[in-house]
Amino acid sequence: MSKAKPKVAFYWCSSCGGCEESIVDLAEDILKVVEAVDIVFWPVALDFKKKDVEAMEDGSIAVSFINGAVRLSEQEEMVKMLRKKSGLIVAHGTCSHLGGIPGLGNFWNKETIFNRSYHTTPSTDNPDRTVPLEKVVVEGKELTLPSFYDTVYTLDQVIDVDYYLPGCAPPRDLILNAVQAILEGKLPPKGAVLSPNKSLCDDCDRNESKPEKLVITEIKRPWEVEIDPEKCFLAQGIICMGPATRTGCGERCIEGNMPCRGCFGPTDQVFDQGAKFLSALASILDTNDEKEIEKIVNTIIDPAGTFYRFSLPHSILRRRRMEAIK
């Protein structure tokens, strides 16, 4: 009998499902993975229950790929359990790595989010003002829902994480490389982000098109201009997070003639992607006149959402101060 195949688990927390999709996107290559490993837990695709995991021995899962940020008590419970049962934990995708799009919820809290979702969006019709409750008694039986936290957490703010697969969602070659490295035991030091530690400009075809002096006199949103498909976005006045974003994504957005929005997060030596990019952008504004600067800066719509689109929970800011939220 052949040697037992390593056990692998996949789990999702607060995410859109795109990361699950990225595994399915491996297409035929998934067969190689399935051939090499035993998938022991994958709620989105296979029918396993919590108790199945509970029954496993501690450390019996070789590696768990967890995607999505942590914002519910159930998610916290599950990832803590998986941590116990797994040898390695890989934060799969931007949300578990940096907080991702759900992380923008950190500009608000549970109350304001619920108010918006269940009462004030234009499409909401909720005359009874019903909101989800953690406990409700229906016909004498108590039903429960997990608690919704005020703050969205990255995976490593809840459990110890061994590796990070960046991207929204991670591209297939990075996933395959990661799986292969784990199978072959050729692993980088713990805590590594499994993508090259350079910024996107390094791989970007448009880098050579940069003018001698890269300056911005006016900031444009992509729909406002006809974007030159050969020219550096920043040189066209379009905010491109590429210089502050780790490469390895295969420039999918750039090739689609859209600027980088920063889903791969910062490079190893940068603590706060948003702040770093903001600092870089401020440096290349082509004026020293305060009023002129204000004018340019005011053309940035939603600066927090632009610079911290994917990384707010991971950043130094982490979240908006609770007492500042009305």
Binding site: L214, A244, F271, K276
Partner: protein
């Protein structure tokens, strides 16, 4: 042209040996024998049209010759003042007098020849042109423009532009007027202004000139804009007349590279342009002048020989001096130009000394900060200059009373008596402030130094390093750093020179230990830092695709570090990790 062959001849019984090709006129000149001329000019080919220079050559078949275009021959015997020659001259001058009776030069020669009036019919008593063709020859031979020529014949002959239309070939050089012996051609300033010095719009000057009497080095230069040669390719009169053969039109501006260890910048200032304050009427009123123009006027070597005169040549009876023009004014420059108060007091003193004029001095505050300055102010107070405290609002020529008629009226709020006053004067001197030079920012870029908010060069430290800049080896002297007077400039220049010498003496150079470095493993070559570096220490290495820092140029300002979006650029001893660790340390309770 001389081929070295010598010719012997006798003029008025004097023997002389001259080069072959010399004319009788030139040979006579060498013997100091004067022969009158009209159509002759030493810089032009002889034309022999006026026949005033007729001389008798003995023993020849035809014995009367014009001296200006007759070449000497071996053994020639010339009489310049023989009876026959004089008779011919007299007849000729009579004919010329009939042609151009108004020409002074003709009258002068006639008088010398003893001719009182002409026997011939005078056609036009106002006529000055003697049709000598000097103007035509000048335009052709010297200027090369060929804008004028003779037209018609006989009595109708005249100097004309083609078809009598203003000629496009004319470059307006006025050389024809300059050469015309009888002032038949004149060239007038369209504005009819009396101008004294062109640089300051005070007067016409030649294309080749010494810029100012105090120029160092004291040598003339050619103003290409004004020089005829650079318009038509001809002329070069200056080259022909310069005995030392020092004039060279082929010389061009050269870029010379000199390797030096340090540089002292002393690029100076630009005087405030008072046209920016239209209410002061500079450029509209002839007698509103700037301080520099007054300085030029009052200088002993000025076109008026130092006399203080109005545009109409009269002496002013009242003069107003307006302080703070372009200084201490939020609309123009907020700073005080420091020198204007004192030079204005000097002007008031000079005016007192040289004229009888009443002197009004309009000031905001009297800033007499230097050694002996306050004492000078007190002297002026005693001399009787009238000091009026208040900013002048307007200089106008709109008279309200008879007394103001024909005067310039200075409107001012006299803040000491609390009233608006109108002071009629003849001359207004604007004490213009000092502004940074026009190319201040470009110079700053070249030398990697910075400019302050007012675009004067920024010193490294206002108190402790006032002549140094943020670029090592670059020092500042004078008004390029801030407005200052001559003593302060000299002191600063001395300090800058000794700083430069100290560096040269030491022979070594200390580098900044805290510099930035770019990790080429991490740099993605986004080039954001390259244009930001105020010391141009960063270059993009296209081959490697990374930006690189030149350690010798980096001053460790940290601009690139904060701008680097991927964290590849880090400041030694102030790495992000170190700073975060420090912050964490502080925040630990």
């Amino acid at each position: 042209m001389s081929n070295g062959k010598k010719i012997n001849l006798t003029i008025n019984n004097k023997k002389i040996k001259v080069d072959e090709g010399t004319t009788i006129l030139q040979a006579a000149e060498q013997l100091d024998i004067k022969i009158p001329t009209l159509c002759y000019h030493p810089l032009l080919e002889p034309y022999a049209s006026c026949r005033i220079c007729m001389v008798e050559v003995k023993g020849d078949t035809c014995d009367l010759f014009p001296a200006c275009n007759t070449k000497v021959r071996e053994g020639m015997v010339v009489e310049t003042d023989s009876e026959r020659a004089l008779k011919a001259r007299k007849l000729n001058i009579e004919m010329i007098m009939a042609r151009a009776p108004a020409a002074e030069k003709v009258q002068e020669i006639a008088k010398e020849l003893g001719v009182k009036k002409t026997r011939f019919e005078i056609t036009d008593p106002e006529e000055k042109c003697i049709l000598c063709g000097i103007c035509v020859r000048t335009c052709e031979e010297i200027v090369g423009a060929n804008a004028i020529s003779f037209s018609e014949r006989g009595k109708e002959r005249k100097v004309y532009t083609p078809f009598g239309e203003p000629s496009e070939a004319c470059i307006g050089c006025a050389a024809c007027a300059f050469f015309c012996p009888t002032e038949a051609i004149t060239c007038e300033d369209l504005h009819g202004r009396k101008v004294i010095h062109s640089e300051l719009m005070l007067g016409p000057s030649t294309a080749i000139r010494v810029p100012i009497r105090q120029a160092v080095p004291m040598v003339p230069f050619i103003d290409e804009e004004a020089c005829i040669h650079f318009k038509t390719g001809e002329c070069k009169i200056c080259e022909r007349v310069c005995e030392k053969e020092a004039v060279n039109h082929e010389m061009e501006d050269q870029e010379v590279e000199i390797e030096v260890g340090s540089v002292i910048l002393a690029s100076g200032f630009k005087p405030f342009d008072p046209k920016r304050i239209p209410a002061y009427g500079y450029g509209r009123f002839d007698n509103v002048i700037t301080a520099l123009e007054f300085e030029k006027l009052v200088n002993a070597s000025s076109p008026t020989d130092g006399k203080i005169l109005l545009a109409n040549g009269e002496e002013p009876k009242a003069v107003g001096i307006v302080h703070c023009v372009g200084s201490r004014d939020k609309k123009y420059n907020e700073y005080c130009s420091r020198v204007c108060c004192m030079y204005s007091l000097k002007f008031a003193h000079l005016l007192k000394e040289k004229t009888e004029a009443d002197i009004y001095d309009f000031y905001i505050d009297m800033r007499c900060f230097g050694k002996g300055y306050e004492e000078f102010y007190h002297r002026l107070l005693e001399e009787g200059t009238r000091f009026i405290r208040g900013r002048v609002s307007e200089v106008t020529d709109m008279a309200l009373t008879e007394k103001e008629e024909g005067k310039l009226i200075i409107r001012v709020e006299d803040t000491l008596i609390g009233a608006i006053r109108r002071i009629p004067v003849d001359m207004v001197i604007l004490a213009v402030g000092l502004e940074p030079g026009l190319d201040q920012n470009e110079i700053a870029k070249i030398f990697n130094i910075s400019c302050g908010q007012d675009t004067f060069f920024l010193e490294r430290h206002p108190k402790l390093a006032p002549v140094s800049t943020f670029s090592d080896g670059i020092f500042l002297a004078g008004t390029c750093q801030s407005p200052k007077d001559i003593p302060d400039t000299v002191a600063q220049a001395g300090a800058a020179a000794s700083e430069a010498l100290a560096l040269a003496d030491k022979g070594t150079f200390e580098l900044e230990p805290i510099t930035a470095e770019i990790d080429e493993e991490l740099c993605a070559g986004c080039q954001i830092c390259v244009s930001l570096c105020p010391f141009t220490a960063i270059t993009y290495n296209k081959e490697k695709g990374v930006s690189e820092i030149n350690d010798a140029l980096c001053k460790g300002c940290g601009t690139c570090v904060s701008a680097c979006p991927c964290g590849a650029s880090q400041q030694k001893h102030f790495r992000d990790a170190q700073i975060f660790a420090e912050i964490e340390g502080i925040l630990v309770e």
